[in-house]
Symmetry: C2
Subunit: 230 residues, 2 copies
DNA sequence: AACCGCTTGTGAACGCCTGAACAAAGTCGC
DNA sequence: GCGACTTTGTTCAGGCGTTCACAAGCGGTT
């Protein structure tokens, strides 16, 4: 039932909710007890009306004329985002990026817990990263089964990412965060989010160039067709 | 002049062009000389029609009935994305994430060159990361001026990110890639792209939860209004 | 107890991006 | 030399996300 359930909360909204949650944590530390949508939006870098629309997906959770209760909104967001119970994650590929992620304090404080680190390099296996031992890649299925992890993070080289992905899915992982620069193929029912660091830089370079020389790209667009058609 | 110039190439398209460029590099290494839109789209993980639409922004660059020339398309994309001349970048905050980025092979091979690494920790300053020496944070302005860097990457703790950002902008940097979990405020004419790793995980957790317990969030949405309105 | 100002929540319009179907064009085979 | 097949480039419609503007509701004040 509810096979083709329409997404109740847009994915873009979910991403922003996570941002609001972090801002709220900062406000709570500062001793604030209530916030207005304008202030919260400013801190999160979004439009106030958009923020209110985002929050409206969770039902009414503010008080008109006053604002939002910092503690109350925080609790609601935590519940909605699934941070109530800490979610076990496995991380495959303990290179420099993988090590950085394993040791990233931002994860643990937000209810995420890496329960298994895996790598295929014998020199890395057996070492400790962020207080956790690195297991050999062969134990992937065993680690997933033992910990019941449903989220996997891939920070391996691109060549082996698809293989790792297949093994994760076969082992029961249904949500994957992929840092390898390849498009992963997964069966229906599995979610993949891709973070491509070099693409981010390249987009910046494009915007940079577009500003620099009075938009050379546009000039190229106007001039090239004649050359290439000829 | 051209104050409010409409964006000729949509930003979402630019991001995908970078992906196509990488796929093309792999194909070139494999000895391929031409590709069809279907094959390229499959490797990039997008819709074939969308890919053709993306490429059409650059003017006609394929041959009907045959496909795209791997070498030709690669050259065109490289030119458009501004990777022709290598763009100097500075990286501020040489923690674990910063070190990973500085040493990330994917950047150097794509025309990006880190010309300055900066950190405020005396224990980090003076060490070498990825073959480059780490300079003290005080030299930020000097490094930017000397290298002519126009792109800055921020991997500092959230508390100092805005200060670092202000100094980068004042020194002449106009494109910033921000990994710190805060919304940066910049003057008009400066582009900021934000990568938030914990948000990515949190979105995955949400999708995970939404699948798990027959969408408890939806249940909450249906039940709450009655309670709170009453 | 009633008024006033402030803030939320929501409805509608706008624009952008995505996905699918069609026409143009070039090449290969006969 | 001609026909047919393949593949690009484009046009159109649909959906999604964002933004603006207004009505509803609550607290503080007199």
């Amino acid at each position: 039932m509810s096979e083709s359930r329409p997404r109740i909360v847009p994915e873009a909204t979910v991403a922003r909710l996570a941002v609001y949650l972090r801002v709220l944590a900062g406000l709570a530390d500062g001793g604030r007890s209530s916030v207005s949508s304008g202030e919260l939006a400013s801190a999160a870098g979004v439009n106030p009306a958009g923020l209110r629309k985002d929050l409206s997906y969770l039902g009414p959770c503010g008080v008109r004329g006053v604002g939002y209760s910092v503690a109350g909104l925080r609790e609601r967001l935590t519940e909605v985002l699934g941070g109530e119970r800490s979610r076990p994650c496995v991380l495959v590929g303990i290179g420099r990026l993988g090590s950085a992620l394993a040791d990233y304090a931002g994860f643990a404080s937000r209810g995420f817990q890496f329960v298994g680190l895996l790598d295929s390099d014998p020199r890395t296996v057996g070492t400790e990263v962020g207080g956790l031992p690195v297991h050999p890649a062969e134990e992937l299925e065993a680690v997933v089964a033992r910990t019941g992890a449903t989220i996997g993070v891939i920070t391996t080289p691109a060549e082996v990412a698809q293989t790792v992905c297949d093994r994760l899915v076969a082992a029961g992982v249904r949500s994957i965060l992929n840092f390898a620069p390849v498009a992963l193929t997964v069966p229906a029912g599995v979610d993949v989010r891709k973070v491509d660091l070099s693409v981010e830089l390249q987009v910046l370079a494009f915007l940079d160039q577009q500003r620099d020389g009075s938009a050379p790209v546009v000039a190229a667009l106007r001039a090239d067709p004649q050359e290439s058609v000829r």
